[in-house]
Amino acid sequence: MEVAVWRGSGDRGAYQTFSVPAHDNQTVLDVVSWIQQAVDPSLTYRYACRVGMCGSCAMMVNGQPRWTCRTHVKRVLADGRLQIGPLRNLPVIKDLVADMDPFFDKWVKAGGVHKPSRTREEPIQEVSPDDPGRVVANTAIECINCSVCYAACDTVAGNPDYLGPAALQRAWTLYNDVKVQDRQSVLDAVTGTGGCMNCHSQGSCTRFCPNELDPLSAIAGLKRAAARSFLKGRG
């Protein structure tokens, strides 16, 4: 098969085509690894676990963001061709490696760090798995920070301040976490100029999330909470 791979660094670069032997069982990451091991050792890409846990191998495959370690070539091959590029909406370091800093900076900016409400002297807070807030929070905890949603989102592309689906979904998780006491501070962090209100509900995040999470609904939840707090006069 013909595989076009993005080569270059920063804003500059071009697709380079390789002929790669096709196998029955082959992931996109296998293809990239084969090129690097058999043809061009200078090809730069990023991966760690190869089993969909670490979230480091996401790339654009035929124009769509995917986790390459668990994307079978058979499912994405178009006319015997594959085009593999670095994740969209992030600066490129080299070849297939995107700079994830803006993604994680926004994660922090959206208040993604857990702030405990009890000290170590106090007893551990019991959390019932059936608690409604816990049930909502559970829906998003499988996020692996792969940035696929961030690359899929056109609002991120048009609005550089926008926090993006992953960071906002994290905030929604914290907002529903029974262990978090200061709900309003969670909300304040995601209702600034780059906050949840900028989302246009394009739904690409939910569409492409490899773990089948639903950032679109999480952001809608934040909007609802923000609107409620606004109407109560906290805006």
Binding site: G63, Q64, A151, D154, H200, S204, F208, A220, R224
Partner: protein, 114 residues
């Protein structure tokens, strides 16, 4: 028109439809307001504009505007429901089906009446 691969799904297309219809309506508004304000200053010119309405091309444009308004209206209802009603996906599908059905029925009656 070439739609880039990451955009090929219904929700993105609904977003684009909503944006384009909104933009078109916003650009049309000043012309609409100007025409109506002629009623006060130059009623004869307004009549002249309204007589243009018999022109098939203008008829088509009018239909386009009503269509845009309807598209933006339903797109907006969809967004408000999506953002402000914490419904399950099943409930949302049911609601969308009900609205579409109601619209279809009322539009049929309306077209008969006109």
């Amino acid at each position: 028109m070439m739609v880039r691969p990451h955009r090929r799904h219904p929700l993105w297309l609904a977003y684009m439809l909503h944006r384009l219809s909104g933009l078109a309506l916003a650009l049309f508004l000043p012309a609409h307001f100007y025409m109506l304000s002629l009623a006060l200053t130059r009623p004869r010119q307004l009549d002249h504009f309204l007589s243009l309405a018999d022109n098939p091309l203008v008829k088509l444009a009018e239909f386009g505007l009503v269509f845009l308004l309807a598209v933006h209206f339903f797109g907006g209802l969809r967004l408000l429901a999506l953002e402000f009603l914490p419904w399950s996906p099943r409930q949302k599908s049911l609601a969308a089906g009900a609205v579409a059905g109601a619209f279809l029925i009322s539009a049929t009656f309306l077209l008969r009446a006109v």
